[in-house]
Subunit: 207 residues, 2 copies
């Protein structure tokens, strides 16, 4: 992909500009998810967004640029969904339960998420890797805070953060993207995963 | 993808046939991983395998067919790497440690694995889903056996199996595919993940 300016340096200053940008990103998510990167087109994105073609170029140079911006946008929205779910006073284990439940709901409401992130592996490998490195660092930081508070084991680090991220990603794949009739709901899935984090999978010692 | 006959009904009956099939699958793995499905060609696969073009058609009808066979082959090899690592008498938690360590080593030795499975999501979604459903069922069965033996919590099921699969896949992504200088080795990573399974991430109760 080209490495030209992204929208990072063209952040809209007005409410109207921010709304237009949001419309473009949401339209791009639908277009890329439905047609794939190669068949997607800028004109279809602007049509879906209901904005003029010229408006697109106010924000992005190319299809590559909006794809890259979209991956970054999704990383941020996954992060803010988790942050919004965390209430003051929650302990570190409960934070992980709330973050996973919020992620499962986010993925169910944004089914384009997996397809777009997964296509980034081929279309823009750097964005793909950044996405997981970013989320991995966020989780590692939560583990660090939980350990500092004495609630989590002190030796937790990147391996545990990546393990936890993988749990969440695969639970989202199975229970949000590939959801089936009769599946447990996001609350139940998040509880089951959280019990693994709290206690592990081993049976209680029989004394 | 077409749904015509795969190699399933053309299993070679001789050692030589089995060797040729193995060569074709290994060559296909390199070709698909390096060039991607769309740019890969049957003639390049046979060149890499050192077999005649006509030989290809003894086993597969099309590029689609060998791709599908390759995904299935990789699911089987991931499974047999795990099975081979399990020694008689290992308890259920130790089985998961050994299976993960074997998987990390397999992924490091077969870096084509992730790219091919991940591309299946776009090229052959049914194979992609089958791959994870198959591995998920295998893990769920191990958890069932461990619970029956009293070593694991009795209520473990599909959610815990998918969580465990996600842990393993993401640890492979980070520590085999994206390995960095100075990373912990597969033994250490498998131990850290296994401690999460044995004890969870919570600090020990302070009594």
């Amino acid at each position: 992909m080209d490495t030209a300016t992204s929208n990072a340096d063209r952040v809209p200053r007005t409410d109207r500009g921010r709304k237009t940008l949001r419309k473009l990103l949401d339209a791009a998510a639908r277009e890329f998810a439905e047609r794939g990167f190669h068949d997607a087109s800028i004109s279809a994105i602007t049509r879906r967004a209901g904005v003029a073609l010229g408006t697109f170029y106010t924000y992005y140079d190319s299809k590559d640029a909006i794809f890259r911006a979209l991956v970054r946008d999704m990383s941020e929205r996954v992060g803010s969904a988790a942050r919004d779910a965390v209430a003051p006073g929650m302990d570190a284990v409960e934070v992980e339960r709330a973050a996973l439940e919020a992620f499962l709901r986010f993925a169910a409401d944004n089914k384009a998420l997996y397809r777009i992130i997964d296509e980034a592996e081929f279309v823009d490998p750097e964005s793909y890797r950044d996405h997981y490195e970013t989320i991995g660092r966020r989780i590692e930081e939560r583990l660090r805070v939980g350990a500092a508070a004495g609630r989590l084991r002190p030796e937790l680090g990147a391996p545990e953060a990546w393990a936890l991220m993988g749990m969440n990603v695969f639970l989202g794949l199975r229970y949000a993207i590939w959801a089936r009739e009769g599946d447990p709901d996001p609350t139940a899935i998040a509880r089951a995963a959280n019990l693994m984090l709290e206690q592990g999978i081993a049976a209680r010692a029989k004394g």
